[in-house]
C-alpha cells in the first residue's frame, strides 16, 4: 500500500517500466519443453538456471511489471553464489548493502550483538539487503538478453490439464487466449498460487497468531547496515520491532500488531504513520522522513506435502510459506529454482534418468521443514503464543540486560543452507573425516591463488581432487560435462577439507557435496556419478 494520492507503483526511488503482452502471436502455441508460471525472483532464477544448461523455457507473468514494493529484502550468501553461477551477480554486488552484524535491544538497552559467520575465505558476505524490485530487475535484464527464454508479460494461466507425456496450459493475455502445451511446468506463482489451486492442492501446517506490518520510509539516517531488533520498546510496549537499512536511503520498519488490533485498522495510513513515527523517535531519528510503502503479513509455517504433482513442480512460495525471521522465504525459493533447474535440464537433455527428479521434493521439502523447526523457535521468541512462552521470553530478555548468556536466546538464528544428508542422491560417509563439508552440505569456500575455490567450480558436477586422481578419464565417460579441479593435498584448502593425497569430494551443480572419499580413484567417482544420473541413488 502507498500513501493517499500515490498509485501502487508511484515509488519514491524506483521507476517501474511497463511490459506488454506478446504482439507476435504465431509462435505462442508452440510446444515448450518447460513452462515457468510466475516471473518473480524464483521463476526468473529457474529460467536462467535452465538456460545455462541449454534448455529453453517459456516464462509467464500475469503482471505488467516488477513487484509493487520492497517485500523480500534479505539475500543470503548462498543466493549470491546462485546468482554468480547464472552470471548475474555483478549488479547485486554494486547495489545491495552487505551486512554481518545484528543488535538486539530490550526496553531501549542493547542486550546482544551477534556476528554471522564470515571471514577472508568467504567470497560474499553472510547477508545483503536489496529491495525486491531490484532483485527482479537485475534477473529480468539477464532473462531478456537470453535467447533461450521467451518471457511473456500480462499472461495469466486460467487452466491446466494433464495430457499424455505433458501438460496443456490455458493462457489469457490482453490480446487473446491460447493453449500452450508443455512437457514440464514449474509453478513459481507465489503464496496464492493459481496453479496450486487449480490442481486442488492445499498447504498443511500452522498459522501463528503474530501479525506484522512492514513499512518502508525514505530518510537520511546515520546508522550502519546492522539489523536492529527492539523487544518491548517504549513505542510499542510488549511488541517487537525490526529495522533494516536498504539502498537508496530506504529503511524497513517491521512491527508486530497487538492482540486484538485489526489488520485493517493497523494498515490505514494514519495508523502506519503514527507507528513509524514512534519507532523513529525510539531510535533517535529527528530529521525528515517520507512514507514509501507498507504491507502486512502473518508468521505462517505452511507447505505442500509433495512439491511435485505429475509433471508440475512447485518452487518458492507456491510450495511453502515460512516466517520471515530466518530470512528463508526468498532464499529457499531461489534454492528450489536452482535445484529443480539443474535436474530437469539433465532429464530433458537425456543425460540423466527421469528418476533424478524424485530427489527434488525430499531435498527441498526437507529444507522447508528445517526452516519450520528453527523459525518456530524464533517466532515463539518474537511472538510468544502462550503465557508460558511469554514468561520465559521476558525472563531471558530481562536477564540479558546484565547476563550475556541470556542474550543468546534472542539470536535470530539466521539460517545456513540445508544439508541434504538423507537425500537419495547423497552418499553417506564411509570414511572418517575430522572436518570439511559433510555429504549433502554446501561446500566450504576457501582462498585459492588470487580468488576462491568457488571460482573454480564447473557449470555441472565438479570433482575436487586433492593430488593426482588415478583413472581420471573414467569420469568423462559417465559425465562429459564434469569438471575436475586438482588441489594441493598440503594446502589450506586440504586442511579445511581434512584431505590428504587421494582425497576426493564430488560436488553437485548447486555446490552441495554428493559424496566424499579419503582415497578414491576416478573409477569410484564415476560409479557414484553414474548412479546419481541414472536415478538409482548415490548409495547403489
Amino acid at each position: 500500500m502507498r500513501p493517499e494520492g500515490r498509485g501502487e507503483l508511484d515509488s519514491l526511488y524506483f521507476t517501474y517500466p511497463t511490459f506488454d503482452a506478446p504482439e507476435r502471436r504465431d509462435h505462442l502455441t508452440d510446444r515448450a519443453a518447460v513452462v515457468i508460471v510466475g516471473g518473480g525472483p524464483v521463476g526468473l532464477t529457474a529460467a536462467l538456471t535452465l538456460a545455462r544448461c541449454g534448455v529453453p523455457s517459456v516464462l509467464l507473468e500475469a503482471k505488467s511489471t516488477y513487484n509493487d514494493g520492497s517485500r523480500a529484502i534479505c539475500i543470503a550468501r548462498q543466493s549470491y553464489h546462485i546468482f554468480e553461477t547464472l552470471g548475474v551477480v555483478a549488479p547485486f554486488v554494486d547495489k545491495a548493502l552487505g551486512w554481518t552484524t545484528g543488535r538486539t535491544f530490550y526496553r531501549g538497552r542493547q542486550i546482544l550483538e551477534f556476528e554471522m559467520p564470515d571471514g577472508p575465505h568467504e567470497k560474499y558476505r553472510p547477508m545483503y539487503n536489496l529491495e525486491q524490485q531490484y532483485i527482479e530487475q537485475f534477473l529480468h535484464e539477464a532473462v531478456r538478453a537470453n535467447p533461450l527464454i521467451d518471457m511473456r508479460w500480462q499472461s495469466e494461466v486460467t487452466g491446466i490439464g494433464d495430457e499424455d507425456g505433458g501438460v496443456t496450459l490455458q493462457v489469457r493475455d490482453a490480446n487473446g487466449t491460447y493453449a500452450l502445451p508443455a512437457d514440464w511446468v514449474l509453478a513459481a506463482d507465489g503464496a496464492r498460487s493459481a496453479i496450486r489451486g487449480m490442481r486442488g492442492l492445499r498447504f498443511s501446517g500452522q498459522n501463528y497468531e503474530g501479525r506484522y506490518v512492514i513499512a518502508d520510509v525514505r530518510m537520511h539516517h546515520d546508522y550502519p547496515t546492522i539489523r536492529r531488533a527492539l523487544f518491548d520498546p517504549a513505542c510499542r510496549p510488549g511488541g517487537t520491532v525490526l529495522i533494516h537499512r536498504q539502498p537508496d536511503d530506504i529503511w524497513r520498519i517491521d512491527y508486530q500488531l497487538r492482540d486484538g488490533e485489526s489488520a485493517e485498522a493497523a494498515t490505514r495510513e494514519d495508523a502506519v504513520r503514527a507507528s513509524v513515527a514512534g519507532v523513529l523517535s525510539e531510535i533517535g531519528h529527528e530529521g525528515q522522513w517520507e512514507l514509501e510503502w507498507w504491507s502486512v503479513y502473518s508468521a505462517n509455517t505452511l507447505a505442500l506435502d509433495d512439491y511435485r504433482d505429475g509433471r508440475i513442480f512447485f518452487i518458492g512460495d507456491s510450495a511453502h510459506i515460512v516466517p520471515i525471521f530466518g530470512v528463508r522465504g526468498l532464499n529457499n525459493g531461489l534454492a528450489d529454482a536452482q535445484n529443480i533447474g539443474w535436474k530437469l535440464a539433465r532429464v530433458i537433455k537425456r543425460t540423466a534418468a527421469e528418476t533424478l527428479l524424485d530427489s527434488y521434493s525430499p531435498e527441498r521439502r526437507g529444507a522447508t521443514l528445517d526452516v519450520f523447526a528453527n523459525a518456530s523457535k524464533s517466532t515463539r521468541f518474537m511472538t510468544p503464543p502462550t503465557r508460558g512462552w511469554q514468561v520465559m521470553r521476558d525472563a531471558a530478555l530481562s536477564l540479558a540486560l546484565n547476563h550475556p548468556f541470556a542474550g543468546a536466546f534472542a539470536n535470530p538464528r539466521q539460517m545456513t543452507p540445508y544439508t541434504y544428508a538423507d537425500s537419495p542422491i547423497t552418499l553417506a560417509d564411509r570414511d572418517g573425516f575430522a572436518c570439511g563439508p559433510t555429504p549433502g552440505a554446501v561446500i566450504t569456500n576457501a582462498r585459492l591463488d588470487d580468488g576462491f575455490l568457488s571460482d573454480r567450480l564447473g557449470p555441472g558436477f565438479t570433482v575436487l581432487a586433492f593430488g593426482a586422481l588415478d583413472e581420471e578419464e573414467r569420469i568423462a565417460t559417465v559425465d562429459p560435462d564434469a569438471t575436475i579441479v586438482t588441489l594441493d593435498p598440503q594446502g589450506e584448502t586440504a586442511r579445511a577439507y581434512d584431505a590428504e593425497a587421494g582425497t576426493v569430494y564430488l560436488v553437485r551443480p548447486d555446490e552441495h557435496v554428493a559424496a566424499r572419499w579419503k582415497r578414491a580413484t576416478g573409477g569410484d567417482v564415476a560409479a557414484v556419478l553414474a548412479a546419481i544420473l541414472s536415478g538409482q541413488g548415490a548409495g547403489q
Binding site: V391, D394, A395, A396, S398, L399, H403, F405
Partner: protein, 58 residues
C-alpha cells in the same frame, strides 16, 4: 550445602517473592531458574528437576 544455608535460601526466596509482588513473582522465579541452570551447567539435570518440581502441586 548444610541445612542452615539451604534454610537461608528458603528465607531469602520468601522475602524476594513478597518484595516483588504477585504480578512479577513469576518473572522473578523464571529468571532465577535460568540463572541457576546456567550456574549448574547440566541441562539434563535441570530438565529432571523441572519434572520433580511439577509433581504434587495440588
Amino acid at each position: 550445602m548444610s541445612a542452615t544455608t539451604l534454610e537461608t535460601v528458603y528465607e531469602r526466596l520468601a522475602e524476594a517473592i513478597d518484595a516483588t509482588g504477585s504480578e512479577k513473582e513469576t518473572l522473578l522465579l523464571a529468571k532465577l531458574a535460568l540463572l541457576l541452570a546456567e550456574a549448574l551447567g547440566d541441562p539434563d539435570r535441570v530438565v529432571g528437576l523441572i519434572e520433580d518440581a511439577a509433581r504434587d502441586l495440588d
